[in-house]
Structures are given as structure tokens and as C-alpha cells.
Amino acid sequence: VPTALEVLVTFEEFARARLAALARYAAVLTGDRALAEDVVQEVMIRAYGRWQQIDEMAQPDAYLRRMIVNEYLSWRRRWARVVPQADAGADQLLPDFTQSHADRQAVRSELARLPRRQRAVLVLRYYEHLTDAEIAEVLDCPQGTVRSLASRALATLRVDARKQQLLGERP
């Protein structure tokens, strides 16, 4: 059985297979469907230009998710220069018709208002299920910073610290 490295995957094959998953990931990261679409499209256009190198990687998907995180963080920075920051994204969330918990929409709105790095840490920890060490690598910061960002975000969201200890800390 050939390994991933031995199979030459065309950009189009990869994009067709992974675009929806990457867009879902971007949507979770940004909390904003329109921004997620912009970010994932920009990343894919850039990935096309260097597909040969990305295709040779052991985990092109992980590399693209990392590009999406970087694009989201820098995108928001660029955007913030010209647009006043106020409730960014909160009004653009799609209504969640399937929600079973009355507080869910409130949590999503509050998540959308978090500073970008705090939100990214929560997404990487509770959606991607990365360890703090892995998150530190993605964001290129010390693990202590990751814990501090997560702690501040969870405090803002009024998440029970004891439960955070039990559920949030990864091995």
C-alpha cells in the first residue's frame, strides 16, 4: 500500500475532498460563515501556488488548518485597522435551529466577541482536541501563554474552573 507521500494528489482532488471540512473548521474558528468562506478560499488560492511542496508533506491537511489559523489571525488584524471593532461577527452568526439548550446562542455570541487568539485557543483545545503543547506550536507561543489565554477566555464565558480542570486539560 503506498503511503500518502508516494501518492501524487492533484490540487483539485485534494480541494474537492477536503474543502467542506476545511470550511467547517474555518467556520468554527471564526464564528462567522462569511469570514470563514473568505479565509478558506484565500488559503486554498495560496495553497495552489505551492501545492507541490504541500502535497509532499506527511499531513497536508494539518498544514492547511494551520494556514487557516494564521490567515484568520492576520485577517482580523488587517480588518481591525480600518473597521471599528465592536461585536465582530456576533450579528452574522446563522440562527441555530437545532439548539437544544437555551444558553447555546448566548455562548456562541460571547465566543464571537472573544479576542481572536483566545477564541483560537478554545477552538484548538475543544474542537481540534489539541494538547496545550500542540496549540503552543500552532500559535508559536509558550504553553504558559496558551493556558493564560484559555483561562481568560473561560473566565469571560463563566465556565466552571473545576470542570475546566477535569475536562479541559489534555494529557
Binding site: I45, R50, N70, L73, D103, L139, R158, K163
Partner: protein
Amino acid sequence: VKRSVADIEAALLADSDTEWDVDRLMSNVSAGVRQRRRRNVALTAVAAAVLTVGATLPVLLLHDSGGTVPIGTTSGPTGPTTAPAPTTSSTPVSRFAADEVVLQFASVGGQTLPINAATGLPNMTFYGDGRIIQPNVNETGPQAPTLQIPWVSTISQHDLEKVVALAKGAGLGEDVDYGIPTNLAIPNSRITFNDGSGQRVILIDAMSYDAEPGLTQAQLQARQKVKDLTMQLANLSYFGIEKSRSEPYPMTALAVIAEPWSQLPDSYPHPAEKTWPGPAIPDPGPDAKNLSCVTISGDELSAVSQALQGAIVYTPWLVGGQKWFIRARPLLPHEHSCADLDW
């Protein structure tokens, strides 16, 4: 009311629970790729010349002044093909093959016309036998000659090992995260490095634009180390490394890249047509680059070199009943066919 981590996980999952029209996303991505290609092709000659100068700035930095010789002759250097390497009392035997790339800096990508990318020479290449090959940076812009002949000089094996040590000191032997800035227009740096344990290819996106958003302090520092290395290589004598006098590279094979002729605006140079004496030019490939490539060696080499003398990049060439723009450059020691160029 205190919430639990499960509430956060549920809220994030809700954000992921949306359907995406993959066909529409694919269509947008394709349109974006096409738009950026068109933007690249639509550059004016002036903008292209400015970008070419920008892309070759590292070369200006890298090229020291020891050995400027007039370029443009197609008869090759009159003296020895490479000047003798400075002698040292204990020259070690090379652990590299003569034509093996030990260290190379090249600009790739960015807003470069496909024909410029295909004919561009790496900014600097150190070979296993101590040769250093660099392009002639005076030969850029709309009046650039059709045939680009690089310079070659030599260092000793002992000094080549010093260069390897400098490169390792700059982090080129390790896995380093250089980050990805968001600027698409700037050429990327491709560094090939072999410290004896195997060849590594390091890509640094838009190395000259280190202030872009999206780069961490660690990534900026890693980039600075590589930029410092390029400055060190521009001043080899500072490190006790003696370079022989530069000579025109003695070519044994030529890569000829052709693009179908098209009407140029009045502001461009309009040199007289010439008749192509070389082999037939194949039809351009099916991709958007619209380029053809043939290699020439042996008996045909001197006739073609002679004909290229005096021609510039905008000279129209008559081949059969068709007109082409043509560029040519020697294949370097590690290159064997058109496939080895940067397409």
C-alpha cells in the same frame, strides 16, 4: 450561572454544523487562481522591470566586486574555464560530487511572469567542487539580452566547508518554522542545502517582507538569521574565504524558452526580426504559461549562440512561419533538461 466545558464544545460544534456548497467554493478558488495569474501576466514592462530588479536585489547583495568581466560574448571565456582555486596547505578531498549543489539561493513565485520564472537563474549556487555560479545582474529590464550568461568563480574545498558551517550556523540544517506572510506579490526564497547528510530544500515565503502580519517573533528571528547569512556570503573575504576571479560560465548546453510572439505596446522596444537558426520550437504546453522549451548542445550550440548575440528579450524570432519571443540561458551543472528549470 456557571457553564461547563461541554457548553463550549457544543457551541463550537454548532458553528461547524453548516452545509457548504463545495462546487461554489471550488469555483471561487479557481476564479481566484485565474485572477491572480491574469494579474501577473498583465504587468506592464515597467512594473515587470521593477519587480525583476526587486527579485535580483539579493543577488546585488550577494555579488562582491571581485571579478567583474564584460558579459555578452558567446565564444566563452578565453582563459581557463575556471580560474584555479586559491591553494591552501591542507585542501581536503571533497565529500560532495563536483556538480552537486551544496548551497543555493533562488527566488521563486511572486508576481513574476512565467517566462521570467522559467529563464531565471538561481541567485547563487555553491557546487561540490567549489564553483560559485551567479547571474549577471546587469542584464535585466526590457533591454536585457536574449542570452543570459552567468558568472562562475571558485573557492577551495576548505573554504567550501566554511560556507557549509556558516549555513548550518544560520539554521539551514534544522527544521525551522519561517512562517507564511500574507503578501502574494513578493518572490519566495528557495534554499537548497546539503551539509553532507543529504539535500534539504527550505522554502521561505516572501523573505524580504518580514514585517508582514502573521509572523511571530521567533519566525522573524529565524528569517533574520538567513538574511544575515546572505550578507555573510556577500562578504566571503571577511571570513577568510578567497574567491577566484569571476569568468563567464562555460556552457555545454543551452535551454531555450519560447513564447508565441504578440503585439507589444508602443512604449516597448521594437527590435528587428531575426531568423531562428536552431531546432524547431514545439507547440506550447497546454497550461496557462504558454511556453515552449528546447535544449541545445553539441554542434548546434555555437550557431545558436552566435545568432543570439545582440538580440534582446523583445526581439521577434521567425521560426518556420511563426514568430516567437525567445530567452536562453545555459543549463547549470546540476541541470540536465528543461524539466530542471523553475516552471
